[in-house]
Symmetry: D2
Subunit: 291 residues, 4 copies
């Protein structure tokens, strides 16, 4: 079937390729004219037969919201917009409502797979009306990995991004799990060859996983991670997961501590630890380390 | 080759079978005479040709220590004892020293695989002298899973149990990661079908893993986990991992919080929370819930 | 000076008394006619001379917002509204903007002191324009505790509630600190008389505090806290503090874990721990506890 | 009464002074001859009338253990040794048993008060036999702060150090509580004058405490803590408290996270965060920060 794809970066561009290799016709638009099939969103919309389906794959937040709003003015009743970016699930209801005013459907799709997706497929978690999701299945079926897993219609509008958000929260905590184990083994005098231990864990253990495979790969390339600084960014999903934990009164210590560890990793100096050092100096006369 | 196997429970019995299926000759001893090939440790030792190898697969702590001590009196110079149980790594040095007095070698083997090991193989993390490990490779090669992974000679005596301990620490935190995601999805009004979401994650996602496969399996059997109480035991390895984090000054929040969550899961009422409730009542007049 | 006081519950009623004892004239309004000096907000406004000052002391959220909105229609240019409730700091900007349309000033006041405030004074953290705060100082000076501490003009509109929110976040973590110590001492075989230990800590120690005095008081009344269930509510401030930690990328593990402990204290069973129990059963054949 | 005092550093020296000011006769020994009243432990023992009481105030661990052992050879039946240092509670049983062989009593005393103790008194938590503690009350009564608090006989041998250990665990978490609040206020755009907020909290609030007084003092001296690095040491008690939490299966997240925050504060780079950065690069192509 036909699909419009807006945003042809690392993710959108590869998804377009995967869809085209399967015989779908994808018209792509990107702000970068060299990467774009058409010169404008209007041109993209004009180039698709109705009922249209347009996949938005641009940064979350304002860029996605404004793109959806612009599409609301260009598309017609019966068309569908898919937000495949990393939007907060609360944006979905706003977007869906806006489009519904023009009779345009809205589906949110959480997409996992990163740089590996073009080859192995993209795991898809989608939210929206059953009829809309049904209509898009030819697209989803090509994007998703082969086999029985990798796709779920998780619920109404917002459910796709919600499931993806929780996926990323789990991802944060799993990465932290391996990372703590790594630091412990590195610190200990008992184990001689830490990368070999991680490699061995890839089979037969309870903790085998794709992330473990990747960590082994990273250690093959740089056995002491000597070229990498312990500085870790975080994206919205991890923070939103903790916000949801607070809203829903769900204890989520492993996910939250994983996020906090990233915050600390980006600090040159910690105001909190300055305060503790100051207190120890006050009551015990303990020396402080000068800045 | 020949092997003596002491302890023929769920783990030891299955490992014996896997070894025998591969053509090794295993003489088994168990306190339960019905399960045992021989009537005593002495008889087991007598039935093996020198240099002997005897695998101890009994509960960690006193049972393992006393078995090793008894073997020290029965075996001869050049024999090897393997402790395949869940001993604390600090026991290994004691055991090794004791046996070394009689010229007997000692290898510690951390074993992962649980009820799945007989079919899929047991991941092995071993510690000991290179020559001892080398001699036992025919045994290890059969126990381990097929392929290039699943075995590591992690270092000297103790390194095997140490690596297995950290493996289990990571395991605790990974289980907690999925569990927090599960509770969030269950609590949220956005996602309709939580088990379907978990099932979909088995392919194409960043968080795919064997544990995820097992959680999907559990949810297939009991989609709301209605038959299972949220009561979780813990074994030594998780606690020892945190002790090591303290000893080595390594922050391990995800692992530690996973352990604490288990402690709390087993309490009928929390003295700490009683104290907080009492405090709130004192300063704010907030009602307390009577026992 | 004159003050209107809206909401004459535990807090508002006592604050009115403290102000009147100091010679201020307070006209009180409460939904409960028996407690109220006047029959309506309109009547309250009419009874005050301009420029008026009206203190709102009603539940945070909708009740406060709608009271402020109603006052916006009744008060005149040059009057001031003080929100002394537990509003989220983000409500303050909305309230202030609404009142500013009619030339009415707005000051937010975070109030600490609980049931002890009438006697010991109420600690006040206020936000707003300098001129507005200045005008209200006769009120603040009576409400606050004697001495040089207990009052701060923390910044512009919102700063008062913000400072109070962080105060409460710290309060959560301090209560958790004592509570963990209490549970440890209770669990240990080393210490015979836990309440005596807490009592002794009230003087000369690093951890002496008002909260410790209160805990000693609670233990005097009920040495084993046998009449109190370990069930702890939480109010908005603790949750908002964690939300702010997330927004500002500040690690706040002690505060956050204190909040999570309260969430767990209110659960009959934990879905997360069910998931962990299910996983242990799947890979290790470990028994689960049936519901 | 007479007392021998071994170790005349910051703590021991001040305690000697406080005792002498109250009329007790204290013979002090220190490795530094300039600070010492006598030339050796033997001389110190000889200078005291029987039954003697000797207070050991030297670093915990080997120094304390060897001093106690040496005293065991010098003292006589009916004498008492007090360990007032920061020994692990498990050392006390060993020390007591050793001395008991010669009929010498043993009392452990956890001491709080730091540099302020000489003036305000030292909070004392003691463990030991009732008769031994009773005999030493003239000493304890002078060292402790005035008033009804500041002394507890917490139980048998070890109980004093145990109570002091938990005191310090609570102290870690309380300091972390204030420190997190400090960092939040510093990071927020809502509050203009963070030191003023802390100062105001000293009266009327729920979180008023001696530690808060000290933090205010530190902020008076250096309002932005600009001269202090966020680098925090930890002593044994915090680590032992967490070890006890593990042993007793007590969740202690606030105390433990406080300790972990200190560990991280002392790292130039975090191996765990290197591993997370490496993983993000592997699956998402996210840039890493080079070392």
């Amino acid at each position: 079937m036909q699909l419009g794809m807006i945003g042809l970066g690392k993710m959108g561009g590869n998804m377009k390729l995967r869809l085209e290799q399967a015989g779908h016709q994808v018209v792509g638009y990107d702000r970068n004219p060299d990467a774009s099939d058409v010169g404008s969103l209007a041109e993209l919309v004009d180039s698709l037969e109705t009922p249209r389906a347009v996949w938005v794959m641009v940064p979350a937040g304002e860029p996605t919201r404004s793109t959806v709003a612009e599409l609301g003015g260009l598309l017609s009743e019966g068309d569908i917009v898919i937000d495949g970016g990393n939007s907060r699930f609360t944006d979905d209801e706003v977007n869906a409502k806006l489009l519904a005013e023009s009779g345009i459907g809205y589906v949110d799709a959480g997409v996992s797979g990163g740089v590996w997706g073009i080859k192995e497929g993209y795991a898809l978690m989608v939210g929206g009306a059953a009829a809309d999701v049904e209509r898009l299945m030819p697209i989803f079926n090509v994007l998703k990995p082969e086999g029985e897993f990798g796709f779920v219609h998780a619920g109404g509008v917002g459910a796709g991004h919600y499931a993806k958000m929780v996926h990323n929260g789990i991802e944060y905590a799993m990465m932290q799990s391996y990372a703590e184990g790594y630091e412990l083994l590195e610190a200990s005098e008992y184990v001689d060859n830490v990368p070999e231990v991680f490699k061995s864990w890839r089979s037969g253990t309870v903790i085998r996983s794709w992330l473990l495979d990747l960590l082994d790969r990273a250690l093959d390339e740089d056995p002491e991670l000597a070229k990498i600084k312990g500085y870790v960014e975080d994206s919205g999903e991890g923070r939103w997961t903790v916000e949801e934990a607070i809203r829903l009164r769900v204890a989520a210590p492993a996910i939250t501590e994983s996020l906090f560890a990233r915050f600390v990793s980006r600090q040159d100096d910690s105001p909190a630890m300055k305060a503790v050092a100051a207190l120890r100096n006050q009551f015990g006369g303990h020396a402080v380390k000068p800045e």
